[in-house]
Symmetry: C2
C-alpha cells in the first residue's frame, strides 16, 4: 500500500490509507487511545481501539517511527478535520527509552545549552522547526530577489592564501606545508566578480576567531552578500536593498505565517514608500535631545543604546521599524570612499531595524591609484591584494555593496535574546558540536 | 540623464540615451571608429565620428569604463539590431595599460595556469563568463527542484569538532587553544536534520586535504547534498534525482542556450522515460564482453575505463547519456546498509553520465544498534558521533541520500579536461589565490 501524507488524508475520507511518521504525542485513556503522528506535511490524530493494537502502545516512546493503516474519518475536533480510525500499527524504527528532553511540548523546558546539546532532538520541537523554516525562506527569498534584480550568484572560496581583510581574528588552517586562512568575508571576491557580471551575490559561511563569550558572537556565521556596479550614490543601493527586504518579508508572509504565529511574533513594520534615511550626525543630535545625554565627544558611530533610541524615533516619526543611517566616521578599511564634502565621514550606511543593525555597506573605491595609496597608508602588504588590485587596474566602475547576516536577521524576526537560538549548529569559543 | 541598459536600446530607436559599460573592443578606422561596449545586459556598438571624440580614443585601453551619450539608430549588421551614433564619450574609470591577457578575444590564448593567475580578467571573457552563468543556474535549479519536491534547505556548519567521517585527508584549524576540522561532507548533519524535516538539502563548501596534483582534485569543492526519509528502496531516491536532473537541464535550456552555443556543446541526452539502471555485477560482465578484457578478480567497483565503456553502452542500448549503476562492493563507511540478499554488496548507487560519475549515494542504516555495532567494528570513536547517534537513538525512519559535485557537473556539461576550468577560484596543493 502506498504512503499517504497526513495533509492529503483530507481528500480520502472514508478510504483506507497508510500513513508514516514519528509518534509525537500519545494519550492513553484505556479503551480509546490517541496518537499524534508527525510527517513532513503536518500532524494527524490516530485512534487506537483494537485490543491487539492497544497492547503495542505499551512499548512505544515518543519518536517511535510508525506505519499506520486505518480508515480516514471526519473529526471536527482536530485541526486537520480528519483522523485515522480502526488503526493498525507497525513499528518501523523503535525507540527504547523516553527522549532526554521533552521536545514534543509546546516549548522545551530547558536552558539553551541543554537545548543545543540535544540539537538533534530539540530541532524536532515544532516551534524550533518553525525558526529554521523561516531561515530557509530568508535564504531563498534573498537569492530570488537579487536574481530578479539581475544579480548573478557565484561561489566564493572559503580557503584564503592570506587573511581576507588584514589579519586580526582570522582562523589559520594547516595547509600541507604552509598556512591557509578561513574567509572573514567575501568582500574582495565579490568586488573582483563585478568586473564580469556587474551585479553579483553570494551566500557563504564566514569565520571570526573572536574570543568573546556573548549572546552576539559566533565563530561561524552566514553572510548574504551582494555587490553592484555603476552606482551613482547610496540611493541606488537602497532601492535594491529595500526590494530585497520587501521580497523576504513577502515570502515569509506567504509561506511562514503559521511559523510566526507559533511564536506570537510579527514581522517588523515596513514603511509605505521608501525607507527613511538620516545621517549619523543628525542621529546623535536627535538622541541627545530625546535622552538628555550629551553627545559631545562621541565619534560618528552608533552605540547599541543609540540604535535603540533612533529605532523608537523611526517608529514615532515615520511609522516604520526601518531606517537608513548614513555617513559614519571615516572608515578604517582601505576600500571605502570618504565623503568628498567632509572627509571625516565615510560613504557608509547601515540599515537599522527595531533598533539594531541588519545590514551594512559602503560605496567602494574604484580607482586603482587610490586603493594602492590607502593600502600603503594602512601599512598593509599590497602583494596580498594582487588579484584584487588586478580587477581595478584594468577597469572597474563606481560600485558599492552590502551584507546581511542570516542568523542576525532570523534572531531579530523572532526577537531572540541570543543568536544561538537562530543558528542550527552554533560554533563559538566553547562549542564545536554537534 | 538616466542610464539605459544596452539591451533596452532597441526600444529607444531615434532617441538620445546614456549607456555605461566596459570597452570590450575598439576598431579605429580613421574617420569612423567603433567601440563595442559591454554591460550586464549585453553588447552594443558605439560609432565615434566626431573629431573631438575621436581624439579621446587614443588613450583608451580595453576595459576602460565609459559613459556614452548618443542617438540610437537601427543597424542591420549588429547582433542587437541597433547602434549608438553621434556618440560623446566620458571616461568613468580609466585604464592606463593594455590588459596582460586578451580576454576580449573569443578564446583566451594562454595556458590554464595563466588564465587562473589572471582570473579577475579572464572571467571577463564572454566564453568564461558563460560557464559560471550556467553554474549559477545549476545551483538555483538544484534548490528549486528539491524545494518543489518538499525538501527544506538548511545551513550545514563547516567547522567541526572532529573529522566528519573518520580522519584521513582532513584539514585542521587552530581553534583557540584546541583544534577544529573542516567539513569533508555534510553527511552526518543532513542525517540529523531528517529527524526534523523528513527531506532536507544543503549546498556547501567541503574540503579534502588530498595531496594530489591531478586534473580532478581540488581541496575545496561545492557539494549539493540531499537526504530523504521513508525510503522503501533505491527507486524512491531515483525518482527524486531524475526530476532534479531534468529540472537543472530545463533551467539551463531556458536561460543559458546562448552560453552552451558559445562553447558548441549540448546537454547530455536524457532518456524519454525513467533512467536505465543496472547492477555493477552486470556492468562488469557487459564491459568484459565488449572489450574482451577479463573482469576476473575485479572488485565490485568501477574503474574509469569501465565507466566510459558502460556510458557508451547506455547510449547504444538505451539512447541516453545517463544510467544508474547500483550495488557496489560493500561500503567502507559505517552508515550504509549492505544488501540483505548478498552482503558482499552495499545498497549504493552512482548516477553515470557520459561515462563518468555525476552523483553517488546510499541507503543509510537507520537502526541505532547497527550503527553502534559498525562504529565499534571499524574501531571509530563513538564519542565523536554522539550528536549523530542521538538522532538515531530517538527514532529515525529508513532513509537515503545523494550528493552532486557542482564543479564536476559544470565541468562535464562543458566537456572540460580539467575541473579548474569549472571553478571560479580553484584551491589545490599549490594554489590559494586569487
Amino acid at each position: 500500500m502506498e504512503r499517504t501524507l497526513t495533509k492529503d488524508c483530507k481528500k480520502k475520507i472514508g478510504k483506507k490509507v497508510l500513513v508514516k511518521g514519528w509518534m509525537y504525542q500519545l494519550r492513553e485513556l484505556g479503551k480509546i487511545n490517541f496518537i499524534i503522528l508527525w510527517d513532513r506535511s503536518g500532524y494527524i490524530q490516530i485512534v487506537v481501539q483494537d485490543k491487539k493494537e492497544i497492547a503495542k502502545l505499551k512499548n512505544l516512546h515518543i519518536g517511535t517511527v510508525l506505519g499506520v493503516t486505518g480508515e480516514v474519518k471526519k473529526s471536527a475536533q482536530t485541526e486537520l478535520g480528519v483522523e485515522i480510525a480502526n488503526s493498525q500499527l507497525e513499528v518501523l524504527s523503535p525507540v527504547h527509552e523516553a527522549p532526554p528532553i521533552e521536545y514534543n511540548k509546546e516549548s522545551i523546558k530547558a536552558n539553551q545549552n541543554t537545548i543545543l546539546n540535544y540539537r538533534p532532538l530539540s530541532i524536532r520541537n515544532e516551534k524550533i522547526r518553525s525558526v529554521f523554516r523561516v531561515q530557509a525562506t530568508i535564504m531563498e527569498a534573498f537569492r530570488d530577489s537579487l536574481r530578479s534584480q539581475e544579480f548573478v550568484e557565484f561561489r566564493c572560496p572559503v580557503l584564503m592564501g592570506s587573511p581576507s581583510e588584514g589579519g586580526a581574528d582570522v582562523f589559520e588552517v594547516k595547509y600541507f606545508d604552509r598556512s591557509a586562512y578561513l574567509a572573514q568575508s567575501p568582500q574582495l571576491y565579490k568586488q573582483i566578480m563585478l568586473g564580469a557580471y556587474e551585479r553579483v551575490f553570494t551566500l557563504l559561511p564566514v569565520f571570526r576567531a573572536e574570543k568573546h563569550h556573548t549572546s552576539r558572537h559566533l565563530t561561524e556565521i552566514t553572510h548574504m552578500d551582494a555587490e553592484m556596479a555603476f552606482v551613482e550614490d547610496m540611493d541606488d543601493v537602497f532601492v535594491v536593498v529595500e526590494q530585497v527586504v520587501r521580497d523576504i518579508f513577502g515570502a515569509i508572509e506567504k509561506r511562514n505565517s503559521k511559523d510566526l504565529k507559533r511564536w506570537n511574533v510579527s514581522l517588523p513594520k515596513l514603511p509605505k514608500g521608501r525607507f527613511p534615511r538620516i545621517k549619523i550626525r543628525e542621529v546623535l543630535e536627535i538622541v541627545e535631545k530625546r535622552t538628555g545625554k550629551s553627545a559631545k565627544g562621541k565619534k560618528l558611530d552608533l552605540e547599541p543604546e543609540d540604535e535603540r533610541e533612533i529605532g523608537k524615533w523611526a517608529m514615532e516619526e515615520h511609522d516604520t521599524d526601518f531606517l537608513w543611517v548614513t555617513n559614519f566616521f571615516k572608515d578604517k578599511n582601505f576600500y571605502t570612499w570618504n565623503n568628498p564634502d567632509d572627509p571625516s565621514e565615510s560613504q557608509s550606511y547601515d540599515l537599522i531595524c527595531r533598533g539594531i543593525e541588519w545590514l551594512s555597506g559602503t560605496i567602494r573605491i574604484e580607482k586603482y591609484e587610490k586603493l594602492i595609496d590607502n593600502i600603503k597608508k594602512q601599512k598593509l602588504n599590497a602583494d596580498q591584494f594582487e588579484g584584487y588590485l588586478q580587477a581595478f587596474k584594468y577597469g572597474m566602475p563606481p560600485e558599492a555593496g552590502f551584507s546581511f547576516g542570516l542568523e542576525r536577521i532570523t534572531q531579530k524576526i523572532f526577537d531572540f535574546d541570543n543568536i544561538r537560538s537562530a543558528t542550527l549548529f552554533p560554533r563559538d569559543v566553547e562549542r564545536l558540536t554537534p
